[in-house]
Every structure is written in structure tokens, then in C-alpha cells.
Subunit: 324 residues, 2 copies
């Protein structure tokens, strides 16, 4: 059983069938990058439609028990998440409403600074701002997991300190293993570890590097090195896999509506556009090789279970609003 801490893109029936084949029982899906409140409601509506149309193979899960039930039923559980806090549109009272509507994971900010926090791509990371402190408290109370994957390291440390619940870095790697603005410094990984947080190791080439993408052994070696830094209870999987992503989707993800220019996101002028998936991860079904790959680099079955799903389930149990 695998839980993937973050995927994105346009899911369709084939996405769920492929995930099921790969042994993925739960996946945090990206319902929005830049969308405001109303657009985010639209996105929730579209997700409800998609799940209803595919209810034989997919379901929405809002609790760890619902993910486990989905697995028992042979379905893929979609956990509703946003990669930006823009869905709240500056309104503290919308946090609990989106939680009631099923949202369980929200990243404090995406590629730009916002009212809450600094981004990993800003020259200066402000740390958690006034509204950010309010939202962290409200997300704790409402039962939404705080995600700091694209958040700056300083703001991430502030969020760990401000939050009464452990937080997640759903999709990033260790900066000490592959230096990149999107990856997390060791002090962040250690602070996550000390507070019960979890990092999902990514398999997105731009933030994983060619070496760790070259084979399943290489990628699992990266996971093992991350465990050496953060401990076995802190490390999980967050592939950052996209489904049916096209050039306009990259333009939206990176440029949104905030610039007339080009932004390369995790890529660069030398590597614009879509990064090729790792050699071992050409199709979504290839995720099936992960448990065996982890065993091959020396993890025990108990450790593999923690990395593939138990660490996420423990964090979700601690942070998710329980179904009413």
C-alpha cells in the first residue's frame, strides 16, 4: 500500500486505474495553484463530479479510516489539497468552511510570497506573517494539514513553531542531497522530525536531480539518505507526479496571472518546459516498484510500511478534521 503525499494535473479514469495498478491507495490531489475562493469552489465541484463518475474505482477520503476503507474496497482515495492559501482569499473564516467541504491539505504559499508566508523562490523569506499566524491557528483548529513544500525554509521553521500540530512538506527533497531552492535544509528536516512532521520525497526531476532519477535503486538511496537525516518516522513519499499536463498547464502553474514574463518554476532557462520523468518512473504504474526498491536498499518491511503509508496515516490522524 502506497500513499502519495502529492500529485497534480488533470486526473481522469485512467489516472485512477493506473494508481490502483501501482498499489496507490491514497493520494493528495492538487485542486488549485493560484485559484481564489470561488474558483476553488469550482475546483471542488469538478473533483466531486470526477469522483462520482468513477465511483467504482475512486473516492474522496477525509480521514485515515476512509483511506484504509478505500484500500480495502480496491479504490483510490483522493485527499483534497491546494498548493496555495489563495482559496481563503484573505478571509480567516473561510478556513473552517473549506475544511467542512472536505479540504485536508493546504500549502501556506506557492511560488510567490503571499499574506501568510515567504516562498522558496523569493530573494528574502519574511518568515510567517501576521495573517499566516492566524491561518496556522485556524487550520490547526479546523483540521487542515499545513503543507510547506514551496514555502521558504525560514517560514517553514516558523510554521513548525507556530503550529500546535505537526506539519508536512508533502513534496520536496533534502537540500543537502540535491541543492535546489525547492528543497529543505537539514535544520528544517530535523525540526520536522522533532515535532512529528513528515516530508514526502519527490520524484520530480527538477528537484531530484538526474543522478537520483537514474534508477529505482538511486531514488531509494536518496530516500535512505533522507532517513539518515530526519529519521524513519519522518520520511514518506510525495512524488509530485502530474497527470495529463500540457504546456498551458505549466504556464498556469508557473506564471499564473502574476507576470507577463516567463517564470521557470523549479526548472530554468536551460531546462524550460516539462522535465522528463525519472527513468524508473515513465508511467504511473511504475510506482509499484517502490516497495521492492526500498527493500533492495536495506529497509525492513516495518520501515517500508512507514515510508510508503504509515507515516502519512499517522500525520493525517493527528491533523485531519474527523468526519462530522
Amino acid at each position: 500500500m502506497i500513499i502519495d503525499g502529492l500529485e497534480c494535473g488533470h486526473f481522469d479514469r485512467q489516472s485512477f486505474l493506473s494508481l490502483k495498478t501501482a498499489g496507490v491507495a491514497g493520494v493528495v490531489v492538487t485542486c488549485g495553484f493560484w485559484e481564489g475562493a470561488l474558483e476553488s469552489l469550482d475546483s471542488l465541484g469538478a473533483w466531486r463530479d470526477l469522483i462520482r463518475e468513477n465511483e467504482d474505482v475512486a473516492t474522496i477520503a477525509t480521514t485515515p479510516a476512509e483511506i484504509e476503507q478505500a484500500a480495502a474496497d480496491g479504490k483510490v482515495a483522493a485527499i483534497l489539497g491546494y498548493q496555495n492559501a489563495n482559496l481563503f482569499e484573505g478571509r480567516i473564516r473561510l478556513v473552517e468552511m473549506f475544511a467542512e467541504l472536505g479540504v485536508r491539505v493546504v500549502q501556506l504559499t506557492y511560488n510567490n510570497q503571499n499574506e501568510l508566508a515567504g516562498s522558496c523562490y523569493e530573494v528574502e523569506d519574511s518568515g510567517l506573517a501576521r495573517f499566516g499566524k492566524e491561518v496556522v491557528r485556524e487550520m490547526n483548529a479546523a483540521g487542515i494539514l499545513i503543507d510547506c513544500s514551496h514555502v521558504g525554509n525560514r517560514s517553514t521553521l516558523d510554521a513548525i513553531e507556530a503550529s500546535s500540530k505537526p506539519i508536512a512538506v508533502t513534496h520536496a527533497n533534502a537540500d543537502s542531497l540535491f541543492p535546489h531552492k525547492r528543497n529543505k535544509t537539514d535544520d528544517v528536516l530535523k525540526a520536522l522530525s522533532e515535532t512529528g512532521g513528515v516530508i514526502g520525497c519527490a520524484a520530480y526531476r527538477n528537484i531530484t536531480g538526474d543522478d537520483y532519477c537514474a534508477s529505482i535503486e538511486a531514488w531509494c538511496t536518496m530516500v535512505a539518505r533522507t532517513v539518515e537525516i530526519a529519521g524513519i518516522d519522518t520520511v514518506a513519499i510525495g512524488t509530485d507526479r502530474s497527470h495529463n499536463f500540457t504546456a498551458p498547464d505549466y504556464a498556469w502553474m508557473r506564471q499564473g496571472r502574476w507576470t507577463r514574463g516567463i517564470d521557470y518554476g523549479a526548472g530554468s532557462a536551460a531546462r524550460p518546459g516539462k522535465a522528463a520523468p525519472p527513468e524508473w518512473f515513465q508511467t504511473v504504474e511504475d510506482m509499484a516498484v517502490i516497495p521492492g526498491g526500498l527493500a533492495a536498499v536495506g529497509f525492513s518491511q516495518e520501515e517500508i510500511d512507514k515510508i510508503t503509508h504509515k507515516n502519512w496515516l499517522r500525520l493525517y490522524a493527528t491533523t485531519f478534521r474527523q468526519a462530522d
Copy 2:
């Protein structure tokens, strides 16, 4: 002739009559604090209605020539401004559209950090962020004056550097004269001075202090000391006067929708709610005493003209989009 760099509140016919009596020919009005794009269009609509209903005494001005024409016609010119960049709602392409609709002054952020910049009330001022740099360039091109009154000192310095046009601090005082988070440090005042920017001296008690509010002489002495710091071409008037402001307006201005708690804005727990106006400025008509007050502390007529209106007119000529 007086131009007031910033006023706020619910203007009505009496507001315009009082301003006219006081000799105020132009005033930057606050069309929004926290409002998003659609709400800001609503506000523009309401302002158009108000001006049409009072077209015998008021008009909307979008150029310095229109302000001077209003003065010649015995009318008060409203210059449309926003105290937050939230009207753009993260969309770079809305900047020129709001300029076309008559908006001429926009503050990069209000009391909280946003996608553009840090606020004076944040623990840490990030400096100008990625979207802030884009918006500064776009405002320069579209002809909207950049206002940094509530913006943090560091972000203000960044904006001065990033902007190809001079910028404004429409309503604040010198921090070295009355220390307050809302006031500007001498390095900011000097950077304004070196780049052709202008600061409007405020008469809002919370950021002016009781001593400088005690009499027109005292307030004009503060203006004279500001001129000593920033030079005669940099100092103007931005009273921050509010019209028909009630408790719910203060709640909106300070708490908006971003907190469930209480925020005191420029006030404090010891001084919540509405600050009493200066002794010399009990009614809007009292602004008529300003030119005489400036003369009494030693300014020449030429200097008085710069402070009361010519510095603003020069800055507007440099920065405002000209009517198409």
C-alpha cells in the same frame, strides 16, 4: 489651494462643501482597504455615482490639469486611490485596466504583508517580493502612482529603487520626529528626496502624537522639521482625515476579514477606537488654517505653495497616466 494626499471614509455632499470651504481643490480618496477586484469595481461605481450626484461641487480628476480645472471651476477634485493592491487580485494585467478606469494611486500593501511587499506592522519586512517588482514596473507603465505609506521601510526603499518613476508616501510622518511603526525613517525620507518623491505629512493623532496635534503652530513646526530632513520639494500634506467614520468602519479598516481577533492598527490597547482629531483640526473646514500656519512658522509663499499643492502636482505630472 490645498491638495490633500490622502483622506478616507464615507464622503457625502457635505464632505465636498467642507473641503471647498477649506480651500482643498484636490484629494486622493480611499476607494478600498481590503477589497478584491470585483469589490473594487463596485467601489469605483459608487464613487462615480457620488460624483455625478454632486457634479456642481465635485469631479473626478485623473491628471494635474483636471485638478487645476476643478479649482478654477470651484469644485473639489477626487483622485481615485486604494490603500492596498488587493484590487489587482494577483493579476498583473488588471493594473492597466484599473488605470484606464481612472485609478491613479495604489498603496503596495496595507497593514499586512501581501504578494507585493512587507507591511510596517509585520515583525519582518521582506522587502519587495517577486510580484511586487512586476507590479511596480506595470504601475510605472500604466501611470499609477506607487504609495508606500503603510509599507515597511525596507520595502519602501526597494520600491524607490525598483520604480522608474518617483513614488509617494501619501500619509505618514517622520519617525525621527514621532516614533511609530507607521512613520518613515530618515533614510526613506532622504531616498524619496533624491528621487523626486513626496511625503504627505499626516494629521492623524495616532501617528502624529499629542504634542504636534496641540496647535496649528505645533503641526506646522513638525512640517518644517520634516522639510529640514527631506527638503522643500519633498514635503506635502496627507492628512489621513476620515469622513463619517463609525466603529464598523474601524473594524473593517483594521481587522478586515483576516483575523477573528482585535487589531488596533495605528492605535493600541491603551488607545483603541477612533483617535480624537488634533485640537486645530476639529472640522474639515479647519484645513483652511494650514497656509497661514505655514507662514507663521517662517515659510515663504513659494514654499507654502510647494507644500500645499505644487509638490503633489509635480509628482502627479510625472507619474499619472494622461487622459487618453
